[in-house]
């Protein structure tokens, strides 16, 4: 049984590496298709306008960028896995009556909602050839701000759940969900609209294929971490240890 922080952190790294690799493979086989289509738009734009973004190709070759895409998912997976394990170790209030697997999966889904799905809804992911370099810092601030707000809602929901223990479990879950939905609606209304218009030469089909692929990749990363970490920390997955601890 995992009772030390070091043990949890190692399992977080393992879960993050596996989920990151899975996410990277989704990227390699799924997201790269609309990325290639978007780069064609960028190229035809450069061909008609003459100068432009052509320096990018020279700095890092396309095969290296594809490798970098998979590697980015693996490295981010390892890093998020460490953060996730730390949050799991510290979050004593999270469904104290649930099994470790259930707790891990719930925390992962909540973090996915706050750090990936919420920014995806408010500021949908865009393929290359869409973003305006002039607004990248503003867009980054908005993106990080909405993630911070989302994580605050998750923390607030866990706090609220810990204060409503006098309610029945279904009543408490309903109350916490309603409060989280209300807070999310406020965040979505309070944050400004994305500043960039989608260029007319970007096909809508490519745009949405990219956005859904991107969502599939972040979902694979976060939910994958929750599932693998849950499997690694739940003693129910190791029957001999369950028997041993029951005998003790």
């Amino acid at each position: 049984m995992t009772t030390t922080y070091q043990g949890l952190a190692l399992r977080g790294l393992a879960a993050g590496g596996i989920a990151g690799l899975a996410s990277g493979l989704v990227g390699l086989f799924v997201t790269e298709i609309p990325i290639r289509a978007a780069l064609l738009v960028e190229e035809s734009r450069a061909a008609t306008e003459g100068a432009g973004h052509s320096h990018e190709e020279a700095l890092v070759s396309r095969p290296m960028q594809v490798l970098g895409g998979v590697l980015a998912a693996v490295i981010v997976g390892l890093a998020i896995g460490l953060v996730f394990a730390t949050a799991y170790a510290m979050a004593r209030r999270w469904f104290a009556d649930g099994t470790p697997f259930h707790r891990s999966l719930t925390l992962a889904v909540a973090v996915f909602g706050a750090a990936a799905f919420l920014p995806w809804v408010k500021y949908p992911a865009n393929p290359p050839a869409v973003g305006d370099p002039e607004t990248v810092n503003y867009r980054t601030v908005l993106y990080l701000g909405v993630i911070a707000a989302g994580l605050l809602i998750v923390y607030g929901a866990s706090w609220l759940a810990s204060r409503l223990t006098h309610l029945t479990a279904p009543g408490r879950t309903t109350a916490v969900l309603l409060a989280a939905v209300a807070a999310t609606a406020v965040v979505l209304l309070a944050f400004p609209a994305p500043p960039d218009a989608i260029p007319a030469d970007m096909p809508v089909a490519v745009l949405w294929q990219f956005r859904l692929s991107s969502l599939a990749q972040t979902a694979t990363l976060y939910v994958g971490i929750g599932v693998v970490f849950g499997l690694l920390v739940d003693p129910a997955t190791r029957k001999t240890e369950v028997k041993a601890s029951a005998a003790a």
Binding site: T2, G69, V70, A89, A116
Partner: protein, 62 residues
């Protein structure tokens, strides 16, 4: 089998756990957000190498 609550409260979280979590966030920042703030000129190569990954994971980009 001990109860899950007992299982979790048994975990002693050392103070340096915050440093580990910060390290994780820093690495995520370097891979997904580095625009020249921390690494200067070398960041442009890093940025382009992880370019597909940045877009694919939904991070704003130029």
């Amino acid at each position: 089998m001990t109860s899950p609550a007992a299982h979790l409260s048994a975990v002693q979280v050392p103070r340096w756990a915050f440093a580990v979590a910060l390290l994780g966030l820093l690495i995520t920042y370097l891979v997904l957000q580095e625009n020249g703030l921390a690494l200067g000129a070398a960041s442009e190569t890093l940025h382009e190498f992880f370019h597909d990954g940045r877009h694919a994971l939904g991070v704003p980009c130029h």
